[in-house]
């Protein structure tokens, strides 16, 4: 791995953020399995280096758009556990007052314009966010996260064309985890994903999404160039999801093998890899790391307990926020 930040703090924060995502997801999964979470959710576990490598290269005012598999992006962009778990449980103190849930979690205070339950649905939003920056003369960059499956949505080509024509400061980040739902990527994507971006004149990179430093280094470069008006850019990040498509997708041998899962989890885990590197480089000791892990675990568990005890929104909220200027739309 390449050293991209010389600052110990930065490395440790990257580790911490990856670990926080993993911990968040372990708890979310548990909530589902114990039937405490309403609906379904999609776990980000395994893909942590992507969200963290990218978001650690961004400022608070930089924007991201996220996906149905969005907890990782949300944490990486700076969100708190409490408001996140509250949202997942539909509680009033959630980021969206319980109205959005897992698939619509947003945290605009940190520049997260929100998860999206329409595959590819946020590609226009991300491009528009970059348009705003250009029009208003801000130097904010927007990163658009989406899966390999989302490359099948025509919207992507429409907005890439405009972003390229107008040099918008947007980075399209394709999280290629090898599957869309229960289907392998090669069965639904003809040709080459990066070539598709290149055909629009967009510089595209394929990169190991399990290597947080590599991801971070590339992103830093591209973000800096995008700020100068050299965008847009495209990144295809090769990664893997550890869980099923959603928490309920338990028996998945019919579409992917246990061996494949084992291989990724044991030999390509982004956290394990980065942890050994930190220790090797003398940036942190095993003990320090264990302490960090324990602290994160505690944080997460406390946040879960908090969220479980937190109140639901009052029923009178049901017709609030339909319009900005009407307190109760149905009153």
């Amino acid at each position: 791995m390449v050293k991209t930040k010389t600052n110990t703090e930065d490395y440790l924060r990257m580790y911490r953020q990856m670990m926080r995502i993993r911990s968040f997801e372990d708890n979310a999964n548990q909530l589902y399995l114990s039937a405490k979470m309403p609906g379904l959710t999609h776990m980000y576990s395994g893909e942590e280096a992507v969200a963290v490598g990218i978001c650690e290269a961004l400022k608070v005012t930089d924007k991201i758009t996220s996906t149905h598999r969005g907890h990782g992006h949300c944490v990486a962009k700076g969100a708190n556990f409490k408001e996140m778990f509250c949202e997942l449980l539909g509680k009033e103190q959630g980021y969206c007052r319980g109205k959005g849930g897992s698939m619509h979690i947003a945290d605009q205070s940190n520049g997260n314009l929100g998860a999206n339950a329409i595959v590819g649905g946020s590609m226009g939003i991300a491009t528009g966010s970059a348009f705003t920056a250009k029009l208003l003369g801000k130097d904010d960059v927007t990163v658009c996260f989406f899966g390999d499956g989302a490359t099948a949505q025509g919207l992507m080509y429409e907005v890439m064309n405009m972003a390229a024509l107008w040099n918008l400061p947007v980075i399209y980040a394709c999280e290629n985890n090898g599957y869309s739902e229960y289907t392998k990527t090669e069965e639904i994507a003809a040709g080459s994903i990066t070539a598709r971006a290149e055909a629009f004149g967009i510089e595209a990179h394929q990169i190991d999404g399990q290597d947080v430093l590599a991801v971070n280094e590339l992103t830093q470069k591209l973000v800096a160039r995008a700020r100068k008006g050299e965008g847009p850019f495209f990144m295809e990040l090769m990664t893997y999801r550890y869980h099923g498509h959603h928490v309920g997708d338990i028996n998945r041998e019919y579409y992917r093998s246990k061996e494949e899962e084992k291989e990724w989890k044991e030999n390509r885990d982004p956290i394990i890899k980065f942890r050994s590197w930190l220790v090797e480089q003398g940036i942190a000791s095993e003990d320090e790391i264990e302490a960090m892990n324990a602290e994160i675990k505690k944080d997460a568990e406390e946040a879960v307990a908090y969220a479980e005890a937190a109140p639901y929104p009052d029923q009178s909220e049901v017709d609030m926020h339909v319009f900005t200027d009407v307190k109760h739309a149905l009153a």
Partner: protein
């Protein structure tokens, strides 16, 4: 009679029609090996192969358009749209192309296809996976629209839809997929445009679509205990609409409530109420009441979601008011 689930009913209808007519094929996301996320199509790919049970990329406009062209040239596609909320993505191909093909060609071409999709809230799926959008397509001339209220209707209407030479949209309530109902072993079809009087009654008419038929039946049970005899009618198809049966019942009972799970405003209850008001006006003792889902995006929080849709208690309460001559809504 044997009882099967609504899922099984759909599965049987498709299998039977695919056996009968080899130009019938299924196209959509994860319809083959996975049998859809709802597992409705399990077993079909094994019998009919991947040529006729076709897994697509996540390209709703694309495969809908493909289906239109396939239908125009001699096949009978059954398009599987995983969530009714995605209908927004395919409106152009459905409404500008499929719906108008026959008319624009002066009757020389046609697009005999079925769009299978779903509807229904209270599944904690939030605003983009919970909508009931049948009003949008019912408004477009050239499309037929079916709304099965049980496994029986799901089977009979699906078979009719596949044999129909026009584009047909079927909305299944995703909360009823596991609900069982008696379904004959022998083959049967349910003609379009024939409402089903689920329960006879002389005091008030309750018209319900899809799962609201059950809501109306439950309301009728409540009311029966109070000595109010409600007639419950299921239109089964909203295009064509069996006006005659609805109006005859309205004339008989002189009081009507129309219950539907689409948003109330500018939804289908307006049309149904409008036709009854126009044609049975002088027989009515009270205005036709409309009960749709609240005019709010579907909230995630269970505390809010459940109150957005009509319930048996709510229907019964309104029925009581109508019976007691209370001038509901009257200013």
């Amino acid at each position: 009679m044997r009882e099967i689930t609504l899922s099984q009913a759909v599965n049987e209808a498709l299998a039977e029609e695919m056996r009968r007519d080899e130009t019938v094929f299924i196209i959509g996301e994860d319809v083959a090996e996975a049998g859809t996320p709802f597992k409705i199509l399990s077993g079909l790919v094994e019998e009919f192969g991947t040529d006729r049970v076709v897994d697509t990329p996540i390209s709703e406009p694309g495969f809908m358009g493909l289906a239109v062209g396939a239908a125009m040239t001699g096949t009978r596609p059954v398009v599987d749209l995983m969530f009714g909320d995605f209908i927004y993505l395919i409106m152009d191909q459905l409404c500008n192309q499929a719906a108008k093909t026959h008319y624009m060609s002066g009757g020389k071409m046609s697009a005999p296809l079925v769009l299978r999709t779903n509807m229904g809230a209270t599944r904690r799926s939030a605003a983009q996976h919970s909508q009931s959008l049948h009003a949008l397509v019912a408004h477009i001339p050239g499309l037929k629209v079916a709304m099965p209220s049980s496994a029986y209707e799901a089977k009979g209407l699906m078979k009719t839809a596949i044999r129909d030479n026009n584009p047909v949209v079927i909305f299944e309530d995703k909360l009823m997929y596991n609900d069982k109902a008696p379904v004959p072993d022998e083959e049967f079809l349910i003609p379009f445009g024939e409402a089903n009087v689920k329960r006879a009654g002389s005091d008030i008419t309750l018209i319900g679509t899809s799962s609201m038929v059950q809501v109306c039946e439950a309301a009728a049970e409540i009311l029966a205990k109070e000595g109010i005899e409600a007639e419950v009618i299921d239109p089964r198809t909203i295009v064509p609409l069996d006006e005659e049966t609805l109006i005859a019942s309205a004339k008989k009972t002189s009081r009507v409530i129309v219950v539907d799970e689409g948003h109330q405003s500018y939804g289908i209850t307006g049309e149904i109420a409008g036709r009854i008001n126009e044609k049975a006006f002088y027989h009515l003792d009270a205005p036709v009441l409309r009960m749709g889902a609240m005019d709010v995006p579907v909230p995630f929080s269970p505390a809010l979601e459940d109150i957005t849709v009509p319930t048996p208690e709510g229907v019964a309460e309104n029925a009581r008011k109508l019976m007691s001559g209370e001038m509901i809504h009257a200013a």
